[in-house]
């Protein structure tokens, strides 16, 4: 059944068939019995990129394109390890990175993590940081 971003929200109750954990478990499989049987991993209990993209569609259909864009970047970041996430955050803080370092980060996001939206976002930051004196020296 095709996804209807207006009628199929909340996904968890309306369209559980569309929701999976990263390891492929369905929502109905996230149970105490599964926990007892050792079938659940903490690292597996999070949204997938696909789920976040569906939520992005829901947001867009509700007229919230900024939230949808945010969820688009979030979908990309599901593939990025925790420590890299924290590294990028630190790099985006004021006076932490040179233009070259931000550009390298953007390239890495695009190349290693297939995260073009986030990469573009970082490039936009780089341009504004350069204008506003928020970069660190090269």
């Amino acid at each position: 059944m095709a996804f209807d971003p207006v009628g199929d929200y909340p996904l968890g109750t309306q369209r559980p068939d569309l929701v999976r954990t990263p390891a492929g478990l369905g929502l109905a499989e996230v149970t105490l019995d599964a926990l007892r049987a050792g079938r659940l991993e903490a690292s597996d209990l999070r949204a997938t990129a696909e789920t976040l993209r569906l939520q992005g569609e829901v947001a867009r259909a509700a007229g919230r394109r900024e939230l949808a864009r945010n969820l688009g970047r979030a979908a990309e970041l599901t593939a990025v390890p925790d420590d890299v996430i924290l590294e990028i955050y630190t790099a985006l803080r004021p006076h932490r990175s040179s233009a070259g370092e931000l550009e390298a980060l953007a390239l890495r996001l695009k190349g290693d993590f297939e995260a073009p939206l986030t990469a573009a976002y970082i490039r936009e930051a780089r341009a504004v940081y350069a204008e506003r004196g928020l970069l660190s020296p090269e």
Binding site: P10, V58, A68, I88, A125
Partner: protein, 743 residues
């Protein structure tokens, strides 16, 4: 120069708690002006080739980082030309026009600049703002958020308080720490407690961003609202962030399935020394445009921790309400402050609160202190545990849902104990420093953390470090609870992990019902369009909120009445007295019959004996009569006087109100009236008897001294009404008075 003589009233007022606060004249140069500051830029927007080249007084080459961010991500250029062309007054009208739907205003708002948005809401008066907020709130049903902390960072007490908060209906619970290394344990205690009290409650721990994100990744928290943004670039940079770093963080949280809202609020820029000469509302408007541009689903706003600063300038409360309205107009979820202490004065605090309470917001407070203020570590507690009955009563008074439910003492004790036991089991499972049975009991029944034993803080902090080092997760907590007979709590915690998978609560204004069903602006949108539409507190929910545990059920009152020993006997229809010393004591229809005591608790027999004794002391001859045709004290007294040989009578109602009357006076006139029944003593009744005899015998009489208690009415008006209703019910129409004998 001699010292000027002071008015004692002015001196007295200076001692009131309100006067501990400083009120100041506006000082726009440092940002101490509420709205419409003289230095605020004129609204302006110029677009060239799909690019914003002029925004609110600055051309592109003068943009700061915030302008760039808003221009790039925060304006809908397809709507901008249309929206910016609409007259400000016309936009203000549409905000309060019940026939202009919310969706249309949201659409237009997307094309308005920060300066224009601020100007438009500033055109509304407070009631208009409240109406607009009611209409513009994103989610249909309002909710509330709780704060749970304690000075000892005692985990059993944190869990018990979180459980009570959840059971009382708070949709979100926020905790924080005194010592930052405690964060993992505090967050865990609040997770366990909240899910014990009511499944589905979202929880967070307010700490430094990296640590906060880490706890969320481990599934110990489910939301964050610490993403503070500011309205000027220097303050942003002083906060060690940029719009891009905050925006990235928002996406990072979302990528881990964590709900996020930003935080902003008027006065923060002035406090941090870089308001750039602009008004609080204009700078907040920039914050809100930025929050939406970053893709945040919502904000915590309405001055928040700077509330007392905003309220030091004229129109401060109105500015704060304008902030909340602006956020709602921008289609953001609003957690509307009322957490930090707004004033020393309870009157002023509550006057400010009404701006959010009556219209309702997504979270009426962004932190209602479930524990006494002593234990609030947010520097807050604008409303706290001591105020719970006030809050519930005000909800009941206005028929307004402020998001807090009444709960019986037994039920509160039950959930607190269960939660303290659950966290005790979790600590045992992970071999954290044990939580003793004594702590569980203290946490269940405590007033505050002073009732709890001290813990080994060094050992607790070491355990907290283990949570991070060993990556102990929400799932691990659920597993251990399941194995220790806390299956229902384990199931609820697992339910929250499931929410992270479906990520439904990332949508605007999302909260989670105990069933796991998410309710957000998407599936429960506010479509208020006039009376009878939108959210109304009625049906089952109204029944739930109106019945407070200490409410008196009148039916139980009726049942409690049992037949007492007889005090008087009716002899015969009362005759006209003929002796000059005859003083009639006229009692009401239910006196010493259906009713047995006055509102002041005086037994009717004692009252009769005091009155008759007083008459005799002054040389009169008392005669006891019951008036059956009237329950009003004036008529009881006057009817008695008409039967009295001396023409003087004492009339007394069952509730104790008394009058000395004379036959030649009009019924509603009198010699002396004693309306303050609750403060009358047996000595008073004796003195009333003496005075009545004095009038009868033509002596000089000084009025009986009475005490005035201005609160008696508020305290006793319900009792008065109930007693009087029974007196009135005992009336026999047209029946003559009867003479009574005291048994």
């Amino acid at each position: 120069m001699s010292e000027q003589r002071r008015s004692r009233r002015f001196v007295e007022r200076e001692q009131r708690e309100l006067r501990q606060e400083l009120l100041i004249t506006p000082h726009p140069d440092v940002g101490l002006v509420a709205m419409n500051g003289p230095n605020d830029p004129d609204p302006a927007l110029e677009i060239r080739e799909d690019r914003v080249v002029l925004l609110d007084g600055r051309s592109e080459d003068q943009f700061d980082a915030l302008d760039h961010f808003i221009a790039r991500y925060g304006l809908d250029l397809d709507v901008a030309a249309e929206a910016m062309a609409i007259d400000e007054t016309e936009l203000a009208h549409r905000l309060v026009d019940v026939d202009v739907p919310r969706d249309e205003l949201v659409r237009l708002g997307r094309g308005l600049t920060p300066a224009r948005l601020a100007r438009v809401v500033a055109l509304l008066d407070p009631v208009e703002m409240m109406f607009a907020l009611k209409k513009m709130r994103a989610r249909r049903a309002p909710a509330n958020q709780a704060h749970v902390t304690n000075l000892k960072e005692n985990p059993a007490l944190l869990a018990a308080d979180a459980a009570e908060a959840a059971a009382r209906g708070f949709a979100e619970i926020e905790t924080t720490v005194g010592v930052s290394r405690y964060a993992p344990l505090n967050a865990m205690a609040v997770l366990v407690g909240s899910q014990t009290g009511r499944p589905g409650v979202l929880t967070q721990c307010a700490i430094e961003e990296r640590r906060s994100l880490q706890l969320a990744i481990q599934g110990i928290t489910t939301y964050a609202e610490t993403l503070s943004v500011y309205g000027t670039e220097p303050v942003f940079v002083d906060g060690d962030d940029t719009p891009w770093s905050k925006g990235f963080l928002a996406s990072a949280y979302a990528s881990r399935g964590i709900k996020v809202r930003f935080t902003s609020g008027g006065g923060s820029e002035a406090l941090m020394g870089h308001a750039d000469g602009c008004s609080m509302l204009y700078l907040e408007s920039r914050c809100l445009c930025l929050a939406r541009a970053a893709g945040s689903q919502g904000v915590q706003n309405g001055s928040i921790s700077c509330v007392a600063l905003v309220m030091s300038v004229p129109a401060g409360s109105r500015e704060i309400l304008a902030e909340n309205l602006l956020a709602a107009w921008l289609d953001l979820e609003v957690a509307s402050g009322n957490d930090a202490i707004a004033s020393h004065s309870p009157t002023r605090r509550t006057a400010k609160l009404m701006g959010q309470f009556l219209p309702g917001t997504d979270f009426v407070t962004s932190g209602w202190s479930v524990m006494p203020r002593y234990d609030n570590m947010f520097g807050g507690g604008n409303y706290d545990a001591d105020d719970i009955d006030e809050w519930l009563t005000i909800q009941r008074d206005w028929q307004i849902d402020g998001g807090i439910e009444p709960l019986s003492e037994e039920e509160v004790i039950r959930v607190r104990e269960r939660a303290a036991r659950a966290i005790q089991a979790v600590f045992a499972a992970f071999e954290f420093p044990a939580i003793s049975d004594e702590e569980v009991e203290a946490a269940t029944y405590a007033l505050d953390s002073r009732d709890l034993p001290d813990r080994d803080r060094a050992a607790d902090v070491a355990a907290a470090d283990r949570v991070l080092a060993e990556r102990i997760s929400g799932l691990d907590v659920a597993r251990e609870l399941d194995q220790r007979d806390f299956t229902e709590v384990a199931e609820a915690i697992l339910g929250m992990q499931r929410q992270r998978v479906s990520a439904d609560y990332l949508q605007t204004s999302a909260i989670v019902a105990p069933s796991g069903e998410v309710s957000a602006a998407v599936n429960d949108p506010n479509r208020y369009a006039g009376p009878g539409t939108g959210y109304r507190l009625d049906g089952v929910r109204w029944q739930r909120l109106q019945h407070l545990p200490h409410e008196l059920d009148l039916r139980t009152l009726e049942e409690a009445a049992e037949a007492p020993a007889k005090v008087v006997a009716e002899k015969h229809v009362a005759s006209m007295g003929d002796r000059p010393d005859d003083v009639v004591i006229a009692v009401g229809p239910a006196f010493a019959d259906g009713l047995q005591a006055t509102i002041g608790g005086m037994a009717h027999r004692d009252v009769i004996e005091a009155l008759m004794g007083g008459v005799r002391e002054a040389g009169g001859e008392p005669r006891l009569v019951r008036i059956r045709r009237a329950s009003d004290v004036a008529f009881i007294g006057h009817d008695g006087a008409a039967l009295s040989g001396s023409g003087v009578a004492v009339g007394v109602q069952s509730k104790g109100t008394a009058v000395i009357h004379r036959a030649d006076l009009q019924p509603l006139d009198n010699l002396e009236l004693f309306g303050m029944a609750p403060s009358l003593t047996l000595d008073s009744y004796r003195a009333i008897g003496r005075n009545a005899a004095g009038y009868a015998l033509g002596q000089r009489v000084g009025p009986v001294p009475t005490v005035m208690d201005n609160f008696a009415r508020a305290k006793l008006i319900v009792h008065t009404t109930l007693l009087h209703a029974r007196e009135t019910a005992a009336i026999t129409a047209d029946a003559p008075a009867v003479e009574l004998e005291l048994l």
